[in-house]
């Protein structure tokens, strides 16, 4: 399980960008969707995370692991990233049975020699210690021998006992015992002692063989699959077995490992309901079964992240609905991070915790399905999400009698909640969007002043009808209940669900949606990161122009102005930000700092005290400590020595690093010789 972070990821094919400066943070355990039309860069992003594509720039983090950083020359191979992938065509190995397909990733990783050597060394060490202890305690050996004898009698009980031993614990017990025995035999003294009785060894050898064969039969996976191949695989061929007998430690270890692997495969197969298919070849499976095998192959390894490239798009429609539900269930069960690429917005909406909508290599919007549906950030997202698609019309914002309306040429629509868009008349060219289900067709008489439309085509789709409407030259789609009695050619009055109206700026294509933190802000932050202060300020101002009620835009504008040296402008911006959002701690903190820069210590203290109050409310120790410390500084500036000491004490108490900082802080020059102050800073 891990979070995934992409920083400025860039991939070019020739001169065209497949992905350009993509930044994403995918949370641990999230079902994350990359959605977009073909060629939008979603698959490139996924393959970059998998390590199958080498990006041209940026960083990829899987958890705390930096797996790719072009700037630092880091690029981990796919096998070193611990991700599992499900492909659109499932990519099952055609020559392997389902069982072998699923076991393949485990087996390949098992081949990592260093790991094997490490495990063997570890086990030998444990074995050595145990042997020493066992030799000391001959009674213990006797006890084990007795157990051995019991095992033998159990084994002689034969198939029945083994078959009854459905309980896996039993099998494990047999093996454990075997292991112990192996260790004893390995011990030279013991071996020598036992060598005196060759018959005994031979007998034990025979028991071992019998045990092995019984274990073969008893193993539940093997039994259920009734697949000889599988059993054979468990113990490969006799030659190998013979070779391994030389090292009993190893056989115990490997056999146990393999049973472990078989168990894992069985678990994965069970989970996806393909236990009956384990001995089939992929060509003998249906599309849905193949898809599940591909999933089983992915989950068997317990990877940190699942990467899925349109895994459902090769299924027929009916199966897809079912598989979608299964996939959601699977995510709930395994709880690992899923990254899922699709062009199907229905899949995206139904599966995703969050959706990133990509277009032409860059991020259009990131949000929950509810977010992107109800608050599309721009015209592209609005148009991409939803079937039938949203109705989009160009129009102009007008103001009449103090009311805001949208003039779309053939009709004018008055906005009831006029206040939200008030003041935006400076950019009157807009795009008006309304989803079909929010276009209501009123029955009965046509009312005065209503918008009149002609019914053009009626498409019944079952429970609902898609009604194509014409208002003059404009086309409009409405999704209405099939119960409504409508006829082609009828003139009807239509109305829009006010709360579901989307208005976009025509020039920027961005939503004029107060609930959406404006992309202009992000654009400004990015510009500032690049050192373009002026550009950043322009972007923030644009954001504010589009929506003056966005506190974060004002806050960022303040920071940028301050960096530019415009302290007074900065203070105004901060004040605006905290006026819009009185709980904006960072804005209060910065407001205080900037006021103190202008020697307005009283104002600084007021602002910081608010920040302190909020920090205490939010139980945020870091902010609290900082607020105390800042209050100390400003009090020093204001000449309130007593309060300085008090605030500093509190700050140092939370975080004693502040004593060090205070030691060098010029704010305290006036009280540097104060004994109490000296006392305080010497605490560290």
């Amino acid at each position: 399980m891990a979070s995934i972070t992409l920083k400025n990821l860039t991939k070019k094919y020739g001169n065209t960008f497949a992905i350009e400066n993509l930044n994403l943070e995918i949370k641990d355990g999230e079902f994350f969707i990359l959605l977009g039309p073909s060629g939008c860069g979603k698959s490139t992003t996924l393959l970059s995370i998998a390590g199958l594509i080498k990006p041209e720039g940026g960083e990829i983090w899987i958890g705390d692991d930096l797996v790719a950083s072009i700037e630092q020359g880091i690029f981990k191979r796919p096998q070193d990233r611990d991700g599992a992938m499900v492909f659109q065509d499932y990519a099952l190995y055609p020559h392997m049975t389902v069982f072998k397909n699923i076991v393949f990733p485990l087996e390949i990783r098992g081949l990592d020699k260093n790991e094997v050597v490490r495990i063997i060394k570890e086990r030998n060490e444990i074995a050595r210690i145990k042997i020493v202890r066992l030799i000391k305690d001959i009674n213990e050996i006797a006890r084990i021998r007795k157990e051995k004898a019991e095992t033998e009698s159990n084994v002689k009980g034969g198939d029945e006992t083994a078959r009854e031993a459905k309980d896996e614990e039993d099998i494990e017990w047999i093996f454990k015992d075997e292991e112990e025995l192996a260790r004893i035999i390995n011990d030279k003294n013991e071996l020598a002692r036992m060598a005196k009785d060759k018959k005994e060894i031979a007998r034990l050898e025979k028991i071992r063989a019998e045990t092995t064969s019984n274990v073969k039969e008893a193993d539940e996976t093997a039994k259920e699959a009734k697949d000889e191949e599988e059993v054979e695989w468990l113990f490969k061929d006799e030659e190998e077995l013979a070779r391994i007998i030389n090292d009993k430690n190893e056989i115990a270890h490997i056999a146990k490992d393999r049973i472990e692997i078989a168990k894992k495969v069985k678990e994965a197969a069970d989970r996806l309901g393909i236990t009956d298919l384990l001995d089939r070849k992929p060509s003998q499976l249906s599309g849905g079964q193949r898809q599940r095998v591909a999933l089983a192959r992915a989950i068997v390894r317990n990877p940190k992240v699942f990467l899925m490239d349109e895994p459902l798009s090769n299924l027929d429609a009916k199966l897809r609905d079912f598989a979608r539900a299964e996939l959601k269930k699977l995510h709930e069960k395994v709880g690992t991070t899923f990254i899922y690429v699709t062009h199907d917005q229905l899949e995206a909406m139904s599966l995703g915790d969050r959706i990133a909508i990509l277009n032409k290599g860059s991020l259009e919007q990131l949000g929950t399905p509810e977010d992107v549906y109800n608050h599309p950030a721009n015209v592209f997202v609005a148009g991409f999400i939803g079937t039938p698609p949203i109705n989009i019309m160009e129009g102009i914002l007008i103001e009449k009698d103090g009311k805001i309306g949208v003039d779309c040429g053939h009709f004018t629509y008055n906005l009831a909640s006029e206040s939200e868009l008030k003041g935006r008349i400076f950019a009157p060219e807009i795009i008006f969007g309304i989803r079909p289900e929010n276009v209501k067709i009123a029955g009965g008489e046509i009312k005065e002043g209503a918008i009149i439309a002609e019914i053009y085509v009626i498409e019944p789709i079952g429970r609902e009808n898609i009604i194509h409407l014409k208002i003059g030259e404009k086309h409009l789609i409405s999704l209405t209940s099939a119960m409504q009695d409508l006829k082609v050619g009828d003139n009807v009055s239509i109305s829009f669900d006010e709360k579901r109206i989307h208005i976009f700026d025509k020039k920027t294509q961005l939503a004029l949606d107060p609930n959406y933190i404006h992309p202009w802000v992000n654009y400004g932050i990015a510009r500032k990161d690049q050192g373009d202060l002026k550009g950043a300020i322009e972007a923030y101002e644009q954001a504010i122009a589009l929506d003056p009620n966005t506190a974060i835009a004002w806050y960022n504008l303040g920071i940028a102005r301050k960096d530019q040296g415009d302290l007074k402008g900065a203070i105004k911006a901060y004040e605006r930000a905290v006026a819009l959002n009185p709980k904006y701690v960072d804005a209060w903190v910065h407001l205080g700092a900037t006021r103190s820069n202008l020697k307005d210590f009283a104002g600084a203290i007021t602002a910081t005290q608010t920040a302190l109050k909020l920090s205490l409310e939010q139980n945020d120790a870091r902010s609290t400590a900082m607020a105390y410390y800042n209050l100390g500084c400003y009090s020093a500036g204001a000449g309130k020595t007593l309060e300085v000491i008090d605030f500093l004490k509190k700050a140092i108490k939370i975080h004693n690093e502040y004593a060090n900082i205070a030691k060098q802080d010029a704010s305290f020059d006036s009280i540097r010789s104060n004994p109490e102050f000296l006392d305080l800073i010497s605490m560290s």
């Binding site: 393959l47 796919p78 599992a84 990519a91 190995y93 393949f104 081949l111």
Partner: protein, 273 residues
């Protein structure tokens, strides 16, 4: 009715062309069973009056050892060039890197070069490596000059393996060799048959390399020995044809049994190369 007539005409033409195609073989095989007397008494397309195995028996003694030689180096070089071609084709088709296409083109140039352009150095190389007039020399030569066409064939075959399969194996943790050994090779049965049949025919039919690299019985290929028969049995057509039958037999059997694979090889080799 017109249509019907056209069909009949079509089959007549097809059968006539088949007859023309088989005629040289037919007369060759018949002649191999003729005594010297029959050679004079019968026309070349007639059955022998008294069929005899004598020409075949007489030439068998001469051809047996060269045919063994040919079998040894042909089979060995076929296996080696197929293996190397498979690995090279695999890397170039499924692990393309910057410059891999250039490397591929540079390799397949080897298919087209006239061998005369390397003949003198080849003889010098072989005598320096002490491989002149040895089966080892022929194996090395045929393997080296077989790699280009084998690479071409295998690369074409492997290009059809879905990329996702390779990606899946990488994500599953397999490295470049493991992917080859555990996956690609297991899917290569048909490509190996096709390429092997193709290569077997090529090497078996070779004359030029045998001509310049062999000098004596220890390495003499059947093709060169057959050419020598010409000088030994001037005008003894029955013996010449008998020798031809012996030499052709193995490759003819391969063609008649595995012909469809050879045809696939020809097509893959031609369409792409």
């Amino acid at each position: 009715m017109k249509l019907h007539f056209n069909r009949i005409l079509l089959y007549i033409i097809l059968i006539f062309l088949a007859f023309v195609t088989l005629l040289p073989l037919w007369t060759g095989i018949l002649t191999a069973f003729k005594s010297e007397q029959d050679l004079i008494l019968t026309t070349p397309v007639e059955f022998p009056l008294s069929p005899t195995l004598d020409p075949l028996i007489e030439t068998f003694g001469l051809m047996a050892r060269p045919i063994m030689n040919s079998l040894v180096f042909t089979i060995t070089a076929t296996i080696l060039s197929c293996l190397l071609g498979s690995i090279t084709g695999y890397v170039l088709a499924l692990h393309a890197f910057k410059g891999s296409n250039t490397i591929f083109v540079l390799i397949i140039v080897g298919i087209f070069i006239p061998y005369q352009a390397v003949l003198v150095p080849l003889v010098l190389i072989m005598s320096r490596l002490d491989l002149y007039n040895s089966l080892g020399g022929l194996i090395l030569t045929h393997t080296a000059y077989g790699i280009p066409i084998c690479t071409l064939l295998f690369r074409s075959f492997y290009a059809e393996i879905p990329k996702s399969l390779i990606m899946a194996a990488k994500v599953d943790g397999a490295g470049i060799w493991t992917i080859y050994w555990r996956i690609v090779l297991r899917l290569s049965v048909l490509p190996f048959i096709v390429t092997a049949v193709f290569q077997f025919t090529n090497i078996w039919n070779d004359f030029l390399f045998g001509l310049v690299i062999s000098r004596g019985v220890e390495s003499m290929p059947a093709s060169v020995e057959l050419a020598n028969l010409q000088g030994g049995f001037v005008a003894l057509w029955n013996l010449q044809m008998a020798g031809t039958v012996w030499y052709t037999l193995p490759s003819l059997v391969v063609y008649l049994v595995l012909g469809k694979y050879l045809i696939r090889g020809f097509m893959t080799g031609a369409v792409k190369g």
